[in-house]
Amino acid sequence: MTDNKQRNRSLIRGALSLAATAALYETVARSGFFPAVLLPTIPTVAQTLFATIADGSMIEHAAFTLYRVLFGFALAIVVGLPLGILMARFQRVESFFLPLISALMPIPSFALVPLFMLWFGIGNLTTILIVFYAATFPMVFNTWSGVRSVNPLWLRAAGAMGADENSLFWKVIIPGASPFIITGMRQAFLRSWIAVVGAEMIAASDWGLGWVIFDAKEFLNADIMLAALIVIGGIGFAFERLVFGSIERATVQRWGMSRVAKG
């Protein structure tokens, strides 16, 4: 009862706070204190957002960005997942790759954008490779620690019950490491989403949400900028909540392992 009331009050306060912020922004924007091009009113931004979606340009930009992100992300999984597993299971692989990874990891992906631009030109390839670079490390690291932290008791139990290498791997190690692997995917996607926006800005190609924002700056189109910002936030949020949330529910939570992921 009181819990419900408390939640209602929280909701009302939250809504009030959002409304107050919007109202404050609107007043500042309308006061003419700042030039209107720099601080467009909320209706203008909404109008721009709908107009660009209606004429398809925003959707095309979003499609390009998504294509780059998903391509790079898929590459990162294809490379990162096996590498992480190999590193965890073979000492030799681990001692070769771990120093390299620790040396490369602290380099921000954006620092490589100019270099990749020189090597691979401007366009899809550079952006995809930057996304790949950004997403691979969380993938490798989480897979590695996931496989390593599989409860040794399970391995021995399965071994004692006569599981061979193959079934040990597929039935024990992979499910046991899956909370970490899914966390790794989640982190990797977050990283790729950040990296793609930056890469599109710096290695300005012709399409993509990052490029829209950057290009709008040249023409002082703050409304387009804010509209693209909303789209970027929306897509990122949707992926985080809907895609990864449902993957987690379908696998880790159903297997009753989410406590392992947290601890």
Partner: protein, 283 residues
Amino acid sequence: MRTILPMMQDAVTIAVTGAPERPESTGSDRLRPIARNVFPFVVVGLIWEIVAWAGVFPHRLFPPLEEVALTFVRLTISGVLLHHTVETVLRLLSGFALAAVFGVTIGVLMGRSRRAEDILLPLVSIFAPIPGLAYAPLFLLWFGLGNVSAILLVGFVSSFAIIFNSWTGVKAVKEIWVRSAQSMGADDRRLFSHVILPGALPYILTGLRLGLAQAWRILVAVEMLAAVPWGLGWLIFGARKFLNTDVMLAGIVVIAIIGLALEKLVFQKIENYTVVRWGMITS
């Protein structure tokens, strides 16, 4: 946690491969880990050299390592590299200081007061998921090119991780500690400084660590976009125009070293001095 891990890993390797790998203790025992760490770099370096000398790519775009090393030494001696590095680190520290002050304050406030939480949480959760660099053009438009935008953006972007973690940390302080302190007659101020702050500190430190990592990542990109006259990001970006791949690679090496140093020297030390010494986590 970290002390258990090697043992567990041993058990895993034994169980999985059936062959315990136990290095015999010989005289060269101390040199072996160093050699093992250096070996991968030698291999990669050799491959790089072969590709560079084979002429698969134009020499300008793929310079051999000794050229990069030479450029590195040349830039270091002339002081150019140092100037770029100092500017970048100053920018990083001022942006991060902003984020730390505001982030911890807002986070602790949100953790302590229900009202502050209700008001601030929706705002924070709307602005946090947008990639930080997406704000860059907006900041450039509002605050102009240069240092102000760069520092504000770095502060803004890195504060979210700090806010979230301080907030969680304060909420994770055990109710029983608070109550026992209160029953022993602690007033609000002492409760805060003696119970809540130390209790939330592991989380706050994690937040600061994440925030600093984020600040570092975003700063390099911002320096490319904000047209600041000095800075490592700018050094790399500017070198592209003249096809100075060696300068670029030298800059990237410095960036990697700073990133590594921030993690290993700054945060592990702070952790050892505070939370580990208080016995809140074992290293």
